[in-house]
Symmetry: D2
Subunit: 298 residues, 4 copies
């Protein structure tokens, strides 16, 4: 992936007018958000810091300003899209979600839902569609049109922030502060799972990526059940979808658990998404030969 700016820090250090030109579009047709954020808190050393500053402006803006922001957004699969009248960012997002290729029935439902929603609430339905399927989008649309206005206003603002984050991270690589770590506990014996082989693969930028998985590396847990360092860190750590595969069957076989011939757990995959590569993701495994769990740790 190529970026317009070589680092998050250089993007965050731009002078006001350049900053607004670069970052302004992440909030749809609302450059005032980038202007205020820059005035209040520049420079920024990470994408996360820029995102936080922008969101701080939005969440403390007046209700009228928030409504104005929402109203700058186009309908999903609406007239503006048909007419080719969207911003470049919106066009790309709607195409990726399959909204540029709807059947007549789907188009009719979108039109009806857009109408009902805007009439009820006074602002358009907003959903961060970059990684969503038509099915998720329609399901969400049908549910949300029944919500109370206050709930929907809060939901739309949260979606607008998600859209802004996804646009922001296309501008520059993340600051090299993130990392991916692991830990394996053997819950059958109450100890770290030492000597357990792990493979890590990158499955692509989104969950639905059809690209071939990329092998990142083979690892072995140490005596504390951890890797000797992060599996990924700094500029090698990118957003996207990853998968650990833990050789749980081998671990328990060597440690003397007489499993069946086809063990219940053998190669255990954990698939997880990294949304902000400037953060620490700790993704551990707790396992016995018959049960396991995982979670986003810290």
């Amino acid at each position: 992936m190529t970026y317009k700016y070589p680092s998050a820090a250089e993007l965050g250090a731009l002078a006001a007018s350049d900053f607004v030109a670069a970052v302004g579009p992440v909030y749809e047709k609302s450059p005032w958000i980038a202007e205020r954020a820059h005035a209040k808190a520049a420079p920024f050393d990470s994408l996360t810091a820029i995102d936080d500053a922008l969101w701080s402006v939005v969440s403390t803006a007046s209700e009228d300003e928030q409504l104005a922001l929402l109203r700058e957004h186009p309908d999903l699969a609406g007239k503006a899209a048909l007419a080719g009248d969207l911003t470049a960012e919106s066009t790309d997002e709607q195409q990726r979600a399959g909204l540029s290729a709807l059947s007549p029935t789907e188009m009719a439902e979108f039109t009806a839902l857009n109408g009902a929603y805007t009439t009820k609430f006074g602002f358009p339905f907003i959903l961060a569609v970059r990684n969503a399927s038509k099915r998720i989008i329609l399901g969400s649309f049908r549910r949300r049109v029944g919500n109370a206005r206050g709930v929907e206003m809060a939901e739309c603002l949260a979606q607008v922030r998600k859209i802004a984050w996804m646009r922001l991270r296309l501008l520059a690589p993340p600051a090299p502060t993130g990392k991916l770590t692991c830990h394996v506990l053997d819950t059958a014996h109450g100890c770290p799972a030492a000597g357990l082989p792990i493979t890590l693969r990158y499955l692509g930028g989104t969950a639905s990526a059809s690209a071939e998985p990329v092998l990142i590396g083979h690892f072995m847990t140490n005596s504390d059940g951890r890797l000797d360092g992060p599996a990924l860190s700094g500029s090698a750590f990118e957003e996207g979808v990853y998968e650990w595969v833990f050789a749980v069957g081998e671990y328990f076989a060597v440690r003397g658990t007489t499993a069946s011939g086809t063990p219940f757990l053998d190669q255990v995959p954990l698939r997880f998404g990294i949304d902000n590569a400037e953060k620490h993701y700790h993704v551990p495994l707790l396992c016995s030969p018959w049960a396991y769990s995982t979670y986003r740790g810290s």
Copy 2:
């Protein structure tokens, strides 16, 4: 897969001499086990019942008989294998585990370990190798040669039972009593996860199978978070390795959890092995947008 006997029940209903001819070889060169089991408990209506009866004979046999059984087993990667002197079953098992293609260094270690083990314990090292890798076998061998004799005798008997089970299930299809069920709980909201799409695939007869996954079906959880019936049952339920994939990201997106653009959990795979297709395997998922667990349930 083709079987010599059309059903577990027909195998289990054979007259004594036929039963011993068919089932005798599952315990290496020890037909007395099948003889006694038949005399005591025939007929049998399932592979599980045959396995239980055979094991009951072994576990209540005298210590001398148990030792004799162990001593009928060949060394792993030993002289008998080199000389082509193994039973058909042992040859197949050792080849599948890669023991017919050892490097000189590996061969030397096997020879040394075989010698040390037999000298120390008076019986050969036994491991059910059908699905094991050289790495698991060597790791297990190095560890177990340091055990106490009583522990090793018990371990070898347990391995012999595993070998017997894996041989037994090649003789006839399992009785149609098994099934695979599922349940999904939403631990973020404390309720069944209704309307969650699930895909089930068969990955092959062993964990290391390189064959293409076979799609078994697409499912959707009902209002209790369950499938409307077993995902597999009766003769359609075979031993081997399976994988559920749960559309957790879609479930939470539609239900109003504002996840990040690349959700931490989206497509969640659970990969598990079925060793005895005559049993009920309940393989549930407990999940929030940030954590999940699974276990062999009942």
Copy 3:
């Protein structure tokens, strides 16, 4: 506990005027809610059905009606409380939460927060305080005053529903449709935990109850790891706080796990609250000698 009505069904079968007299006050000074619910859906066979019908009226009311409902609520620890001007229900709730005995500092903070909140949003801060401590109330107040108006309006309506539910269940005993069930899985061995002793106690109507625990019964899991029937059901199943204690140490000791002299897990307590005794609560335990988990199941 004594109730004014002998059963949820009798309460739910009252004629319109009696129903509004009885149920009207569960939504503060807003009898129109009970009127509309009765007109639309009476009779009701359970407290849950009444609660659902009332909430359906509230959630589909106009924004002006919803605001009017919110504005009927008194300030927490406000002037009306000092003047003895609250409804009987509000007085009782605020006293239970300790709001009738505030220090001058606490009173000053409440007054300031009440003022800031009402000025910002145009309706009073609402929190279902029956079981809350001053600490929870103040923490929640400080956080929520910073929210957006739409979020707060939705939050207040949700709190109003909670208050209504807590008032409603004081009127009549729950319909005898609820039950409490259990299941114990042994995750070290991948099987139901059979023969595990369990004790159930009732800890009182609220988490902070200082009353002595009441022994409800001793149970033993069956071969499927379950109790032979519900631990509690029908009229014996009351809202409040319960505690299972599982004899996990004994279970694993008898099953041959050589634990340490003081096992890591021995008597495992699970403490949980029942808010709606008309529902099914399935509260299972998944455990190894070194790890366990529980969840609200179904």
Copy 4:
């Protein structure tokens, strides 16, 4: 508790004859174990180091020596106990387990089991009974008498080690290397649970202790969901049974989860035993408003 030796290090630094006099009795009438351990590895800086050295001698002794060790043990509730002929250590252990107060029926079963077991295996049934109930002891006895001899020999040796450890830790306080730590993860939001109040109590030296719980302290999780240091460490960290209570209900209430009036999870107790106070026990909580899990971590 008063100890004969002021520290594990002083006990571990004794000259050979004093060491054997002090430590010899931890393995029943078998001072040769302490002699060899001292000769091979003294001095020792912890009880754990002494235990490891003693066990290394036992596990590498000849089968005849191991059998001799087992045969030094008295029958449980046997003739030697009736005649007052036990070592002081055995008398104390059998009394604590209630074996000095058996009914005639219980005594008859013990006598029968002792006879059957010794006849079958050639050594007495051994179980570390210090913290066990009659029920656990009988359940274990009935099961184990059916085992194979090798399995029982290994089990008895493991029990002998447990007995030795429990005796050893009566001689001197543990080395101050242990500690107790905690971590709370919010699995509903995928983040550390910051600002969650925790209480720690000491419930006594054994699980069945009837003494009043002793409050050790109140804690609050920091921004990483951890305590700022160990909850207990060094000489303050004693073996025995402890209980965390986590204010999960308060945590989620303040963070904006609209729970029900009686939350499903409010005060969450985790009760756990510390068997070796020289080790690090990490006892975390992973929780949502509807589910939680814990495990012995590292």
